[in-house]
Subunit: 471 residues, 2 copies
């Protein structure tokens, strides 16, 4: 078992030559910044890694802007790190080899909306909330919801998913095509707007999840879905985490097309109660959502309520009004920050394992026992319908002993997930943190194939170098 990557990412900068800096300034003017505050903001994310700033930040507004930066970086063999909203949890944004941060957060145009085809093309900086706001009038929505209001470019780059994936899939299933700036600064379009294709290698899926290491995603074509006729949310309390998990397993095995199925343990409920004044019973809970016709939603919910009842679930409560639903889901999405706010001055070490659904009860059971025994503050939230959950440890900033304990326990859990034929990351990506785990999970042969692809597409190793695997 390989250790996760060291906490202090090796900083091995490749300086930005004066000629390149000059060329960037000439083209971008004030949109090219070397200010300390700007650099520091771009050298961190939501991970517990120390700030590791890039040398320059360029605020791009178009694919052409990005291509211009990458062409210069290619010429001077300087690292390029794409930056969206900074919500990575795995150190993706840290400039461990220096270089240029390509900030796409100003690329917020809806390039093309085709409601009649259920597709939309957006610039990489458009966030999931923005896209849903802008298409509201069409009766369509984009379901992928990782919690954070992430950029679609970043979501594609990390193969993000979240609460709705159990029904609608992940970014893997919901990106039809991409515009990518390759490592040599060329602009390439992958995919078409057709729903399916067998035309050559699946470049779209190669870039989705490549974490900026093969190119910079500048536009994303997404699948949209008709807003369901009926949506209804329900919460149900359980005597134990196990009971909630067993309920979930049975719901999935029966093929109930549940749209969201989220676990919160008592600690997570306590945190969101404290932050959002929800007054939820502080017990393990499933937060569910059903999409369909009026009759279909009712039918699904009845099936689930019956299964929950067999496992001691009680207090099945409904939230059919949009306001109530929003309140519940907002609370769920805030769990990460709620957890932190219950322990001021701490940072979160969170796992992201995903296992075959039948092994979920087993892995959660052992992990809960270990977490309780550790004495560290912790909580569990999970997209349990997919077998994906996050055990978050709250460690005091700067407390190396706490962090080491949290890391050791996380590592054991990942070992367990891999042994159960699962993955070290369901949706956050490898980044800096899980490079060792990737090797354990995929094996040296598969990681070698990834390296060969990387070397072929980025021979100068300028695209977000030092992430996913060592070259």
């Amino acid at each position: 078992m390989n250790a996760p990557h060291d906490f202090s990412p090796r900083v091995d900068p490749r300086p930005v030559p004066a000629a390149m800096l000059q060329a960037l300034r000439a083209r971008f003017g004030e949109r090219c910044s070397t200010a300390q505050a700007v650099r520091e903001q771009h050298g961190r994310d939501e991970s517990p890694f120390p700030v590791t700033p890039p040398e320059v930040v360029v605020f791009c507004e178009s694919t052409e802007d990005v291509a211009a930066v990458v062409a210069l970086a290619h010429e001077h063999a300087v690292p390029v790190i794409p930056y969206g909203t900074g919500s990575s949890l795995e150190g993706h944004l840290l400039a461990v080899q220096g270089g240029v941060s390509v900030d796409v957060s100003r690329m917020t145009q809806i390039v093309r909306l085709n409601p009649e085809d259920l597709t939309v093309t957006v610039q990489a900086g458009v966030t999931r909330e923005q896209v849903n706001r802008e298409i509201r009038d069409t009766g369509l929505f984009f379901p992928i919801d990782p919690g954070a209001n992430a950029s679609l470019g970043g979501m594609a780059a990390t193969r993000a998913s979240g609460t709705n994936a159990v029904r609608y899939g992940t970014m893997r299933e919901n990106v039809l095509g991409l515009t990518v700036v390759t490592a040599s600064g060329e602009v390439v379009r992958t995919g078409t707007r057709a729903k399916k294709s067998s035309a050559g290698y699946d470049l779209t899926r190669l870039f989705v999840g490549s974490e900026g290491t093969l190119g910079v995603i500048t536009e994303v074509t997404l699948k949209l879905y008709p807003l369901p006729e009926a949506v209804s949310a329900a919460i149900c309390h359980f005597p134990s985490v196990q009971a909630a998990v067993e309920t979930t397993i049975q719901v999935i095995q029966m093929g109930v097309p549940i749209a969201r199925c989220e676990l919160l343990d008592a600690n997570a409920v306590r945190a969101v109660n404290a932050q959002s004044k929800l007054g939820l019973r502080e017990a393990p809970m499933l937060l569910m959502e059903f999409h369909g016709s009026q009759a279909g939603v009712k039918e699904q919910a009845q099936t689930v309520e019956a299964i929950a009842g067999e496992h001691g679930g009680e207090g099945f409560e409904w939230a059919s009004s949009p306001e109530e639903r929003t309140r519940l889901w907002t609370a769920r999405h805030k769990a990460y920050f709620a957890g932190m706010s219950t322990n001021p001055g701490c940072r979160t070490v969170t796992t992201d394992t995903c296992v075959p659904i039948s092994r979920l009860a087993e892995i959660i059971d052992i992990s809960v026992q270990e977490a309780a025994a550790s004495g560290l503050p912790h909580y569990i939230v999970g997209h349990v319908g997919d077998g994906n959950f996050h055990l978050a440890y709250l460690v005091k900033e700067g407390d190396d002993a706490q962090r080491a304990t949290a890391e050791r326990l996380s590592m054991q859990m990942v070992q367990r997930a891999i042994a159960l034929e699962g993955t070290c990351t369901g949706e956050h990506g490898i980044g800096l943190h899980k490079m060792g785990f990737l090797l354990d999970e995929a094996g040296a042969g598969a990681v070698d194939l990834m390296r060969q692809v990387k070397r072929a597409l980025d021979p100068r190793n300028i695209m977000n170098p030092g992430k996913i695997f060592e070259l």
Copy 2:
């Protein structure tokens, strides 16, 4: 616009050295064949290309067998062509550079069935009918159904889909992981049994659709689905192909979760009537299937019937009994051969375009007019719910003028599909036939990325060389 690849594939054989042949015979004995009949059987598929036999055929029974052949081929720089059931329509199996055909049709083991996780791992030679037969007792099924009883290895290699894809997706969405023998003869496992993952590059999706050019797929882990509580099929006749297509578009735009939505034009109905004695009215027809709860299926069908009614659809007929459904779907699946049997001594030139759903009426309309004006026998079948359809021309074997006309019309249609933001192949793959089209569709930059990946993973160009793109 690039022409499709020439009809007579350039045969540029790289001879199998005596030492390699000896080594193959030593290991495989009678499972290694150079008999003319065996070689010819392995040098053709269902495409109109002339037989182009490999030099040797090896019948493999395990991943280790395949690895042994590929290791020898790697050593001697000899081409390797994976062979499943021979049902390709695009010349994938032709040994255009000579070499060894690796026949996996004896690799028919169900490696591991995990009904509790809705997954199964099969050897590459298992066919879709076999897998469904063997899992029948679990209450689960594997939905992807390209018509032919293809091997799962071949289906993964061409990113196949078919009738159920409108609801369940294609091989892209339904392969969780693969065992692959790489070009150097190493065995690599991609993916895990977890439903989702963000762990590194998506090697699974890179091999799915790579048409044997990056490695030989020897095992496939598939997603399974609970058999729906209720299934019901319906046929509906329309005054025109247009009316049937308009109905389909509206059904998809409304988000009805229809499981199958197949178009047959009057010619296709005539052919299946002649072959299967179905007595269907010889008019354009939609053949549909609904999956869900009893109530859900009824609700879907009512919605669709109402939409069809608005477009002049009539004679909405039900087939709820499994026998009736089987009869209808068998007829649909036989359309390809039924078409040929109505014109003895002919072969089929078929297109496989897929367009955004809103452009489907437009492209089918023009294509039907062109086909009628050509005077060539033809018919249309289509997975129209996905925007994918096949216009098949029946050309007399050896009649170059007919074939040229069919090719010219097909080419025009592909041009049109690409101009409408569609793809030259929804599910058959590029093979030999569509190499020119791929360049038009994806652009030189994207095809170059594919080439770079190919060169990196198969530096000696031994894996099914001469397919997808020229190196």
